[in-house]
Amino acid sequence: MNRNEVNAEVLSLEKRRNLKRNTLPALTMAGPVTFWMMVFVLLPLVYVIVISFMKRDAFGGIEYDFTVANYLEILQPVYLKVIWKSMKLAFLTTAICILIGYPLAYYIARKPSKVAAKLLMLVMIPFWTNTLVRLYSINLIGQPNGFLSNFLMNIGIIAKPLDILYSDGIVVVGLLISMLPFAILPLYASIEKLDKAYLEASSDLGAKPAVTFCRITIPLTFPGIVASIILVFIPSLGMYYVPEALGGGKVMLIGSLIRNQFLVTKNWPFGASLSILLVLITLVMLWLYTRIARLDDMEVF
């Protein structure tokens, strides 16, 4: 055998080994999920992208004729307002989630692990009860002649029945209740990982607790904060059953708008373009997240 033959032999041996050691196990392990994702995520997404560039026909179907009109329609003030409001409420929800989730996560993370597990369970239990039931019970509590209103009137705090149902406020409450666990869990994970020695070192060097919190605790748990923001903000933005149950028809958010396009007004192409907009917002957020995570050279999940 000359050298080339030997090389070829080695190469093919390498190939066969590679196939045996790497390719086959990879296929069996990652194959089913890959297949699933292709068929049920990628294909529908491609389909949504395609119809977002199509026209709606007279009967609520799709006319396969390329147009960017759906995207231009988003720019109409009435829709921009809906998008703006959705972002505003999602932002508010996210901010409150972090503000009340962080202290709680901190508290839980500083407990012994057995206690922490139980407390986390308490956080999770409401999450396992049916969301609609929880939302409609809030709806009932918030009714003008409901329990809360009557109670406040009876003890004389308010004179007129409460008018909180179908307001932005109660929608944010609903979003908060649905989203809080998503905020707490990544926060907990990053705070729990924080080595106490850093806090001691900071204190040792003369930093008061508030300074330590701002300069050590927050930066070192920042990836957890960003993860919480993403996990809360993105679903809040597209959430449609919360404004549906608590906002009535009055609080129109982007999720409800999309739902209406598909189910009520039968304008699938416009609904699709709105969906793509949501996906794009999500991608921008994730891109920002990876930027931040890389800048800090830290991982979070």
Binding site: D195, A197, E200, A201, S203, D204, G206, P209, R215, L220
Partner: protein, 359 residues
């Protein structure tokens, strides 16, 4: 009580419980201004807890802790004029070397120009010029160690507390850092309270060593006194190697005393023990002697189990009739005896130390 101005750190009757666990017992310690004092003991002896109580990370259950004559039990760590070098270094991972070292000054709102000046000074002190912009995870263990020291020293503390700072380094680097730490301490004239379980490290660097066991201070003395005159059996056993013989003091003459042990009789120099009291005789392996014939006043004997070369010296193990193994170290091999021979043990009287800590 405040008359001891020369003591920069004082612990008076300090007790510490973790739950029902009594980890520090009636602990008294006075650290002198400018000295290198080592807390030495096996793991779990409470040495780190004492350091953490001085730093303010741990509350004492009772007793008094003073720094520069001032009681600090109620002060938080950030209010105390002591700084700590942590075992894990605890360098802030999100900050550069510069920001890590500058931290102590920047939280005190020292002007930027002064911070820059002093960080530069510190970097020169620990020989890390040019590393300002690095993040800690881009540095070796030895370099991180230097950063940790610089960060703790920049506040110009009265006392520097070091919690096994060299534990994570390899042997060669550790030896190098030992010398460097000692150099720093002398140069800056700062009091060091150093925690280690490594007795060689303690011997090399310390002015005084406090030997701890089970939350109790066994002995506080200079390294050579601790080695030459251990006060308790624990110290004799923990510091270096010892052959220990229990016995009762019998006849006492002007110069010498006889001790009767269950293994036989032996002689020691006169010591401040009443006849009839129990004591332990400690003899280091390098001064232990043996011969094939009995020596006056000694009736200890045993069989040579083996003679091995352990690198720097020859080690002979002699098993006594009660099963106790006596260690003898020699620079040159002994050709007169062989394994299995019966030999008689003795020593020069001034080589033996009497320990009476049996309560």
């Amino acid at each position: 009580m405040d008359g001891h101005a020369e003591y920069i750190v004082s612990l008076v009757d300090v007790d510490k419980f973790f739950g029902s666990n009594h980890v520090i017992r009636k602990f008294n310690l006075n650290v002198r201004q400018g000295e290198f004092l080592t807390l030495l003991g096996p793991s779990g002896c409470g040495k780190t807890t004492i350091l953490r109580m001085i730093a303010g990370f741990e509350d004492s259950t009772s007793g008094m802790i003073k720094v520069q004559g001032e009681r600090v039990e109620d002060k938080e760590a950030f209010e105390r004029d002591v700084n700590t070098v942590f075992q894990s270094y605890a360098l802030f991972p999100h900050m550069t070397v510069f920001d890590n070292i500058a931290y102590g000054l920047s939280v005190k709102k020292v002007p930027k120009s002064e911070i820059r000046e002093r960080v530069k000074e510190m970097l020169e002190l620990v020989q890390l010029m040019g590393f300002e912009g690095r993040k800690p995870d881009m540095m070796s263990g030895g370099q991180k160690q230097r950063v940790a020291i610089a960060r703790a020293l920049i506040n110009r503390p009265k006392v520097l507390l070091l919690d096994e700072p060299l534990g994570a380094l390899d042997l060669k680097l550790r030896k190098q850092m030992q010398i460097e730490l000692k150099r720093l301490q002398k140069k800056l004239n700062i009091t060091f309270v150093y925690v280690t379980h490594d007795q060689e490290e303690a011997m090399t660097m310390s002015d005084r060593i406090a030997v701890l066991n089970g939350g109790v201070l066994e002995q506080l003395d200079t390294p050579d006194q601790v080695y030459k005159f251990p006060k308790t059996k624990f110290v004799a056993d923990f510091i270096g190697e010892s052959n220990l013989f229990d016995g009762t003091l019998e006849v006492i003459s002007d110069e010498t005393a006889r001790v009767a042990g269950d293994a036989g009789e032996m002689m020691i120099e006169c010591c401040p023990v009443e006849p009839g009291e129990e004591l332990t005789v400690c003899v280091r392996p390098e001064v232990m002697k043996y011969s094939k014939t009995p020596v006056d006043g000694f009736t200890l004997s045993g069989i040579i189990k083996n003679m091995i070369f352990v690198g720097s010296q020859y080690r002979t193990l002699i098993v006594m009739d009660n099963g106790y193994e006596v260690k003898v170290n020699r620079v040159k091999p002994d050709k007169d005896v062989k394994e299995g021979d019966r030999v008689f043990l003795y020593w020069d009287l001034d080589d033996a130390v009497a320990i009476c800590d049996r309560k």
